[in-house]
């Protein structure tokens, strides 16, 4: 007797839809990591002395640190000396002024990824700072943003053009000594995005960056810094897919957000890096440090993420709620299939008075994957009237996968109100049959049930991103379960 689940597990042959490789000559540093590597990167980018010192400090610190072993993920030891720490497309030196000047092969790559850059940009009014490997190669809508006083550029450019701003905020939320992967990133980060929204400005468009990884054995170390001054607002979208590769690829990004009085930052991610094949070979290791500081009164930072990719995910977008009445939010969908492992969640640190945080986490596990939610809610002694609501729901597809919840709670102020709800459910054969009986085929039924499960998160995403995310979920779980 074959159940829907058996039947569907048999269909798990869906290969990574976006698996392909672009053939662009890379200028690549040979594998290895020492102070000279750090100096080379800094010199290549013509960085000021203070930044080189900053990198070196991070590097020396990293050398004394141990890779964390507490996450609920397992992988063979990473040989950090076997990784190359710098790769740039040849065209990096004379950066294209418009899309016409962009390497057509690169544009075709975006096309294949379903990201027709110019079309997207034009249709959605989205400014795109596309990061290809380590160097930004295309930026649009610069002028419109400049008119509003918004700075949106690669962080390397920002170091040259706005050194005082970068120096003031870089590492102020995630110090270069913060953790093993953040230190590594600080030492060797290649590029990333810088966003500055001046006082009182509502950013006139949604900002988005597409990250891609395209160089064999080249670790990716992106650095993003977003600063929202008093009373400003910005919505930033980050999305990525990567080409098929055999070798595991390390990605250790750092994202820092700073919100001053009454500022709001909405940071949305749809992440679809190569998860490895169905036997667990290859795939990206994604060890990310994302943190936002609500420094000002009434400031608000929202993280929304839809994570479907990577072989291993280690990621806890967090909020430090310093300003009184500040608000932190974390909405997450994490999907794991086949051999994927994810240990993801958030930290909400309540420092100011009447600070509130909301956590909504939806974990979906299929295949033989493992999906862990790890969340810390910490209420400091002065956080009078702090409130947190956490909801962690897990959905299992089949009976060979795992879902785990690790909530940590530290309350040092008696007036705090903290609520935690958690559920675990199995996608029901009877749900699927019910939908089948109305004429809906199994794949669509699974997609419908899963999207329903994730609804509270999807509705936090900007419209066009939500549509994309729903499609992505369908693709990620295609043929995975019943």
């Amino acid at each position: 007797m074959s159940s829907a689940i058996d039947q569907l597990e048999g269909l798990t042959t869906q290969e990574y839809k976006y698996g392909f490789v672009t053939d662009i000559d890379q200028e690549t540093l040979p594998p290895g990591l020492n102070e000279d590597t750090v100096r080379f990167i800094s010199a290549r980018k013509e960085e000021p002395q203070w930044l080189l010192e900053w990198r070196l400090k991070a590097f020396r610190n990293w050398q004394r640190m141990k890779e964390p072993d507490w996450p609920n993920v397992h992988y063979p030891p990473i040989d950090y000396q076997a990784i190359s720490y710098y790769a740039a497309p040849k065209s990096a030196d004379d950066r294209p002024k418009s899309l016409d000047e962009v390497d057509p092969e690169l544009l075709a790559t975006y096309e294949k990824l379903g990201i027709p850059l110019e079309e997207r940009a034009a249709l959605a009014g989205v400014a795109v700072d596309a990061v290809f490997d380590s160097v930004s190669v295309a930026t649009t809508f610069r002028e419109k943003l400049a008119d509003a006083g918004v700075i949106f550029m690669s962080i390397s450019e920002a170091v040259r053009e706005h050194p005082e701003l970068v120096r003031k905020y870089l590492g102020s939320v995630v110090p270069p000594t913060d953790n093993f992967f953040a230190s590594l990133n600080s030492a060797v980060y290649s590029d990333g995005s810088f966003v500055f929204i001046p006082k009182g400005v509502r950013c006139p468009m949604e900002l988005s960056t597409y990250f891609r990884i395209n160089a064999m054995n080249t670790g990716q170390f992106e650095r993003t810094l977003i600063v929202a001054e008093e009373g400003s607002y910005v919505s930033y979208l980050e999305g990525c897919t990567a080409p098929m590769r055999d070798q595991n690829q390390l990605h250790a990004a750092v994202v820092e957000l700073v919100a001053l009085d009454n500022a709001r930052i909405k940071y949305s991610t749809v992440q679809n890096w190569y998860p490895g094949d169905k036997d667990g070979n290859g795939g990206i290791y994604n060890f990310v440090t994302k943190r936002g500081a609500c420094r000002g009164r009434n400031s608000k930072i929202s993280w929304t993420q839809v994570e479907t990719g990577s072989a291993i995910t280690w990621k806890y977008p967090s909020c430090i709620l310093i300003g009184d009445n500040s608000v932190g939010e974390f909405y997450s969908v994490a999907v794991t299939n086949n051999h994927q492992q994810a240990d993801t969640g958030t930290k909400m640190i309540h420092i100011g008075r009447n600070t509130t945080s909301t956590i909504v986490s939806k974990g979906i596990s299929a295949g033989v994957s493992n999906n862990s939610y790890r969340g810390l809610v910490k209420i400091m002694p002065k956080a009078e009237g702090a409130r947190n609501f956490s909801q962690c729901d897990s959905m299992l597809m089949g009976d060979r996968c795992g879902a785990h919840t690790f909530p940590y709670l530290e309350v040092r102020n008696k007036s705090a109100q903290v609520e935690h709800e958690a559920t675990t459910s199995k996608i029901g054969e009877d749900q699927i049959f019910y939908l089948n009986q109305r004429g809906i085929e199994t794949e669509d039924a699974v997609s419908m049930i899963v999207n329903g499960f994730c609804k509270e998160v999807f509705r936090e995403l900007p419209m066009e991103f939500a549509v994309e995310a729903q499609k992505l979920l369908g693709v990620s779980l295609e043929g995975s379960v019943g």
């Binding site: 074959s2 049959f433 019910y434 089948n436 009986q437 109305r438 004429g439 669509d444 419908m448």
Partner: protein, 256 residues
């Protein structure tokens, strides 16, 4: 339209249907009655194509096709509709979205154009009204937080949207008060037509005062042990099942 021949079904080695024979003609309404555990829902599930049953022998022919070879969604698109005894909740999915996907899948299969959002909404509003439900129900997640009566009415609403050729109602009357029962019966009666047949499964005769059957069959011990017209249902009401259902069937039912 539908011929069931010598259907034998077991679950986990337990024999549940032991040779069911039934012929259904277009336009007819068949009531299937029988004690709890006699296999009524099993028969409905087999017709709809639910997984997990072993078909040991027999055949089911639907419009000349081998029904048992068809996937459940194809059966649905070919006009088989099952109003579930226990409708399933689908959190986060609105009834509107669900029904629109379903209706369009069915329409596509029948060579009709998909309905636009506007046309769908107009149709849904028109179908929901006679069932005594608010259009607001369309925005609620499928069966989530519905009362027993709302769930059953929603099943009838779905049936009226999908316009099946063979409607199977599994204990749609259970848990309904008399007013709701009347509403549901009116919904079914409105759908009766010369080219549409119904199988109405019920434990009680009560529903059959409102939905008048052409035939009444009694399922016992995995077989149809008696067939008759609507008067058989009245007789069952008076005398219970024990006079026709063999003792072994009663024992199996009691154990269920």
């Amino acid at each position: 339209m539908l011929q069931i021949r010598n259907l034998r079904v077991s679950v986990d080695g337990q024999k549940i249907l032991r040779g069911v024979n039934l012929d259904i003609q277009p336009g007819s309404l068949h009531a299937i009655m029988g004690p709890n555990g006699s296999g009524k829902s099993t028969l409905a599930s087999i017709l709809a194509g639910r997984d997990g049953y072993e078909i040991e022998a027999g055949s089911i022919t639907y419009h000349g096709q081998d029904l048992l070879e068809m996937d459940p969604e194809i059966r649905a698109r070919e006009g088989i509709f099952l109003a579930f005894q226990y409708p399933v909740e689908v959190p986060g999915v609105t009834t509107m979205y669900f029904m629109r996907e379903a209706l369009n899948a069915v329409r596509k299969h029948r060579g009709k154009e998909e309905l636009s959002a506007g046309d769908f909404l107009r149709l849904a509003r028109q179908k929901i009204k006679p069932l005594g439900m608010e259009a607001g129900m369309l925005k609620r997640a499928v069966n989530e937080g519905f009362s027993g009566g709302e769930k059953k009415r929603s099943e009838i609403f779905q049936m009226s949207m999908l316009e099946p050729t063979l409607g199977i109602l599994d204990e749609t009357d259970s848990g309904l008060d008399i007013d709701a029962l009347q509403v549901v019966a009116d919904g079914v009666n409105a759908l009766r037509s010369p080219d549409r047949a119904f199988v109405v499964i019920t434990h009680y005769q009560r529903l059959l005062n409102h939905i008048v059957p052409d035939y009444v069959h009694v399922l016992g011990d995995g077989r149809i042990v008696r067939s008759g017209d609507k008067t058989l249902a009245l007789e069952l009401e008076r005398r219970g099942y024990s006079w026709i259902v063999p003792a072994s069937g009663q024992a199996a039912a009691a154990g269920a």
